[in-house]
């Protein structure tokens, strides 16, 4: 029996090839993602081990909470440094300041941007045995007019020691520095894409705006004193709220922090990879179903010769196992290529993995092989079981198996799964508060499966309807195409369902993106009354330096300058986001819909304005105190002064800029709103604002319409990125369409021969197969759009609390997807159509 299976496998290897390709792509995507994640982690582990290698003990503020899962440590008073230096066993102690938003301007006057990595300003560590940065050329920075920059930026922008460059600082106006040297981290030229400006350890404190504090104090132990011992000694002299850790645990924490971030990225990619594999399982299921149907006589013969049902089952499953295993092996190998491609992609957006080789762990190989094989085997179980139902007597019957009818059991099972899926999806979106993503995902998965099961019922009427123009325009070939597309509803349904998943996701994200764009647009319309909005060009990573608002205030054409800032804080143990505003000018640049309490213009530094949603969630009212833990230690009790209708600009909690800046360290602005003085024409104001900002390269000035457009662009970029990831699943599904139609053609050799004999030309034959393929593709696309629109609207409703208050199903874009599907169908038809046209007429009609 094993021998028969293996021979069968060889005989069908071409038929299995396309299905196996589906597994190959899915497994490649999965293993590529894992390899990439491991490589990113390895890069950072190495990097942090290098940068902290010489540090025995680090002193820092005790954590005041965490953001995105990463603990935050406030700075330590500068007075702690001499205290630490006095501890016996301390060889060297260095107080470090690090500020993001320290942007190098190249010699063409352009701000050096990164894809998303920070632009860091820090102090030059003068102790070489402890320092992370080491000079590659030149000398250390001295005094308040010298800087050392990272070798990567220097090379990329042709900056050499001795050159004078401008640097935009987090505080105050930009300043010009002489590059005294160029430095790198160990063998790396920069910190995974971040730009570095290192200043004199004394003068730099003022440059970076941190004269009374250090971010951390790094300590080197005398020889003979262990890091542990020193940590204990240092800890003993520290004031409250300041802690000491060993260099080793610092490296570990930093690595863990990056892992938290890379895991988010990996999980994101992995979700799409698993979707691709899930789609692949449909193709496997369909291919094995068709193969079993086509081999009905062969299987019946085996049964007639005494093979048991178990043997037939095992033979099909064995075939699937071998197919899955081989495909998975190829997939894992292919995955390494994918990881290489993704690495290049990351590099292109600014995350430089340097010279770290791709990390192919044996676990990755095992996961890839097991996952791919498992998916193949599980998908083959239903066809395998059906194979065991073949009665020995079928060996004697006509070969063409009648298409199986859609049973009422299918209807009830399908409806059951669909309803359960929708219920779970809604639970995930609207009810549960933890593991939302997982619950929603399971709900979506079940919904897809439910629709896939029910799709077989929809095939006859829908294809009949869709086929109408084809029949009208293409005559007999069109009629045959439409009949062929619906002759085996289960097969058409499974093929179309694979496509439905990818299209459904694209449609869903399109709805979310369009609704989000509309909401943002209407929010800006309703809330922003400023003439212009100043934002960083590089919105992903940039901030508006505090110097910008200062410079604009000095401009007499401007009546009001209003900074918008904010970030994380903790409400009890719960992390949340606060927005910081300037009450003095906010009423001239933005409008909030106040429901209770005082206007934002009278917001005090000890007060907070909250959204009605936040008021409801925490059952708080005007006059109540809200405990707010910002970055700096100590819970502040802010009195609720105002309750407003939530909108994406103001979020849920609004505090004054004073409060925000006093409680945080990185306090640059997100945006600065500008209102012109009376008598200054809005059109003229732009030039005046721009000339003020001349010394701040990397800032852009936009009016409301432009700002809305740039916000929409950002969402489109994100949507396109997601669509690119979904394309994988769609390509796999299209392979499935090719495979199904090609296999069906093999099955219909005699019928094709007959119609050729009756006068159908090769061209008409190709046309027939083409339209059959297009009908299947369009059917799958429409299923996808139906499910996707439902998902999209549900998601938007779930986001209502985040201020997404309009639903836009983006009908134009959805129609364009149908057009694309149509073209993709034509493309998918090329191979099967050619095959059909080559049908040997005589072989087909001669009775065997």
């Amino acid at each position: 029996m094993v021998k028969a299976t293996l021979q069968g496998l060889l005989a069908h290897k071409l038929r299995l090839a396309l299905a196996a390709l589906a597994v190959v792509l899915g497994v490649a995507f999965v293993s590529g993602t894992i390899v990439l994640g491991d490589t990113v982690n390895k890069t950072f582990t190495d990097l942090f081990n290098t940068t902290t290698a010489g540090i025995d003990v680090a002193v820092r503020g005790a954590s005041t909470g965490s953001a995105q899962g990463i603990p935050q440590h406030p700075p330590v008073p500068a007075s702690v440094l001499p205290t630490v230096q006095a501890v016996s066993g301390v060889k060297e102690a260095f107080g470090d300041v690090e500020r993001i938003g320290t942007t190098i301007v190249d010699q063409q006057g352009k701000a050096v941007t990164t894809g998303g990595a920070p632009t860091i300003g820090l102090l030059w560590n003068p102790y070489p045995d402890m320092a992370a940065l080491h000079l590659k050329a030149g000398s250390p920075p001295q005094g308040d007019s010298q800087v050392v920059i990272d070798a990567k930026t220097a090379t990329n922008h042709g900056i050499n020691p001795g050159d004078r460059i401008e640097i935009i600082l987090p505080v105050g106006p930009p300043r010009t520095f002489t590059v005294s040297g160029v430095a790198g981290f160990g063998t790396q030229d920069n910190l995974a894409g971040a730009t570095i400006s290192a200043f004199d350890p004394q003068a730099g404190r003022a440059i970076l705006g941190s004269e009374t504090e250090y971010e951390s104090i790094f300590v080197k132990a005398d020889s003979g004193v262990s890091a542990e011992q020193l940590k204990t000694r240092v800890a003993a002299v520290l004031p409250a709220g300041v802690e000491a850790v060993t260099g080793q645990s610092l490296a570990q924490e930093q690595t863990d922090a990056v892992k938290t971030l890379t895991n988010v990225l990996s999980t994101f990619l992995l979700v799409f990879a698993l979707i691709a594999l899930f789609v692949g399982s449909f193709i496997i299921l369909n291919t094995f179903s068709i193969l079993v149907a086509q081999r009905q006589r062969e299987l019946a013969l085996l049964r007639a010769m005494g093979a048991t049902r178990g043997q037939v089952l095992r033979s099909v499953v064995l075939e699937a196992t071998i197919t899955g295993l081989i495909a998975s092996m190829v997939g894992v190998a292919f995955g390494i290529l994918i990881a290489k491609g993704l690495e290049a992609l990351l590099n292109a957006i600014g995350l430089d993995l340097g010279s770290t080789p791709l990390q192919v762990a044996w676990t990755t190989v095992v996961i890839g092989l097991v996952l791919g094989t498992l998916v193949t085997v599980v998908a083959s179980l239903a066809p395998a079981w059906r194979a065991t139902r073949v009665a020995p007597v079928e060996a004697l019957r006509e070969a063409v198996p009648p298409p199986t009818a859609v049973t009422t059991r299918r209807v009830s099972v399908g409806l059951g799964i669909l309803v359960a899926g929708i219920v779970i999806l809604c639970l995930g979106l609207f009810v549960v508060s933890s593991s939302q993503l997982l619950v929603t995902g399971i709900g979506a998965l079940a919904t897809f499966v439910g629709v896939a099961v029910l799709a077989a019922i929809l095939v006859p009427p829908v294809v009949e309807f869709l086929g109408w123009p084809v029949r009208r325009l293409r005559g007999a070939p069109g009629k045959l195409a439409s009949e062929n597309a619906r002759r085996n509803p289960r097969r058409t349904a499974a093929t179309a369902s694979a496509l439905m998943i990818g299209v459904g996701l694209v449609a869903c994200f399109t709805v979310v993106a369009a609704s989000l764009k509309d909401s943002i647009s209407s929010t800006i319309d309703r809330t922003v009354t400023a003439d212009y909005i100043v934002t960083p060009e590089n919105q992903g990573a940039g901030f508006v330096p505090l110097g910008v608002a200062q410079a604009l205030r000095a401009n007499s054409s401007i009546a009001a300058v209003s900074e918008i800032s904010g970030g994380n804080f903790h409400y009890g143990n719960e992390g949340d986001q606060a927005i910081a505003i300037e009450p003095a000018t906010i009423d001239r640049t933005a409008v909030a819909e106040i429901q209770q309490g005082a206007p934002l213009a009278s917001l005090g530094d000890d007060a907070v304005a909250i959204s009605e949603d936040a008021a409801k969630n925490h059952t708080i009212k005007v006059g109540d105190a809200v405990p707010m833990q910002f970055f700096r230690p100590g819970v502040r009790s802010q009195r609720v002064a105002t309750i407003f209708a939530r909108n994406p600009l103001f979020g849920d909690y609004v505090v004054t800029l004073n409060t925000w800046r006093a409680q945080n360290v990185d306090v640059q602005d997100f945006a600065v709103l500008v209102k012109g003085a009376p008598g200054v024409a809005v059109a003229d104001l732009r030039g005046k604002v721009e000339s003020t900002l001349k010394s701040f390269p990397g800032m852009k000035v936009q009016n409301n319409a432009e700002y809305k457009k740039s916000q929409a662009n950002q969402i489109d970029i994100l949507l396109n990125l997601i669509n690119v990831l979904v394309v994988f699943a769609i390509v796999i599904a299209l392979l499935g369409v090719v495979n199904t139609v090609a296999l069906s053609i093999v099955e219909r050799t005699r019928e094709l021969g007959l119609v050729r004999a009756l006068g159908m030309t090769r061209g008409q034959m190709r046309s027939m197969v083409r339209w059959e393929t297009v009908l299947i593709t369009i059917f799958g696309t429409l299923l996808g759009l139906a499910v996707g629109l439902f998902f999209g609207v549900a998601l938007v409703k779930a986001f209502a609390s985040l201020g997404v208050n309009t639903v836009n199903i983006a009908i134009g874009q959805q129609i364009s997807y149908v057009v694309i599907a149509f073209l993709a169908g034509l493309l998918a038809a090329i191979f099967p159509a050619r095959r059909a046209a080559k049908t040997d007429m005589l072989r087909a009609i001669v009775t065997e």
Binding site: R487, L758, G759
Partner: protein, 263 residues
């Protein structure tokens, strides 16, 4: 056949021929040779066949298996190509046509009834009957359609799918399809081979009626003497040659000839 149908059926003008058909023949084959394989494995399935099929007649081709009768049918019908020699259907030299024009010719000038698998399973009986005309994009002559299905008693079965029809009914649908386009010639390849004797007699009787009443030309390929006697003329084939002919055959006469051929 209308002049319009002729125009599309034979878009390329018939080339000048050495022995053009004289107009009384529906089909003429001249020195038709079909060779399969090469060298040691060479098989001469047709070894110089000269035959003329008269218009409006019911002709049977008989022979033992391996005699080349199926190959002859395929070549005469334009389903297969000759190695050498010529075949005219009406005044068209089909051996001079390329694959595409051959296909266009088959649509309306040739009708087929095969032994089995005659019908497209996804189409109703009515749609199967009009299929060649639909493929050609030609209108259906409703009167003629009604006449044909009337003769073949298919009226109550028109909406049925092939799987809902008996073997005899399926073959009658195939016959209706062949008759509907009023082709120059209908080829029937063992049309009653899978039928019981009653259904077989019924079908062949109907074909004979079509010849007698409407002047349809039919070529029947069979190895069954009981079927062959429905024809007015029987041509016997052996080893790729025409070896004998009978006119107005009887079962005994046909069996006698077959015995000498070793069939």
């Amino acid at each position: 056949m209308t002049s319009e149908q002729l125009a599309t059926a034979a878009p390329s003008p018939p080339p000048a021929t050495a022995n053009p058909p004289d107009g009384t023949a529906a089909l003429v084959a001249q020195a038709a040779v079909k060779v399969y394989g090469r060298g040691d494995t060479e098989v001469r399935a047709l070894d110089g066949i000269d035959v003329s099929i008269e218009k409006g007649r019911f002709t049977a081709i008989m022979g033992p298996s391996g005699s080349g009768k199926s190959t002859l049918l395929h070549c005469l019908a334009g389903l297969d190509t000759l190695t050498s020699g010529r075949i005219w259907i009406g005044d068209v030299d089909i051996t001079a046509l390329d694959e595409k024009h051959l296909t266009l010719l088959r649509r309306v000038r040739v009708g087929f009834i095969f032994q089995s698998f005659n019908l497209v399973p996804t189409l109703s009986a009515a749609d199967n009957i009009t299929l060649p005309l639909d493929i050609a994009g030609k209108p259906v002559d409703r009167e003629w359609f009604d006449a044909v299905i009337g003769v073949l008693s298919l009226k109550p079965r028109l909406r049925h799918r092939p799987s809902e029809l008996s073997g005899g009914q399926q073959q009658r649908v195939a016959a209706a399809r062949a008759l509907l386009s009023r082709p120059d010639i209908i080829f029937a390849d063992e049309p009653s081979g899978n039928l019981d004797s009653r259904a077989s007699g019924e079908l062949l009787g109907l074909l004979k009626t079509a010849v007698q009443r409407y002047g349809q030309t039919i070529v029947l390929v069979t190895h069954d003497a009981n079927a062959a006697v429905f024809a007015e003329r029987v041509i016997f084939l052996a080893d790729g040659h025409i070896v004998q002919e009978l006119t107005d055959p009887t079962v005994d006469g046909v069996l006698g000839v077959m015995k000498t051929l070793g069939g």
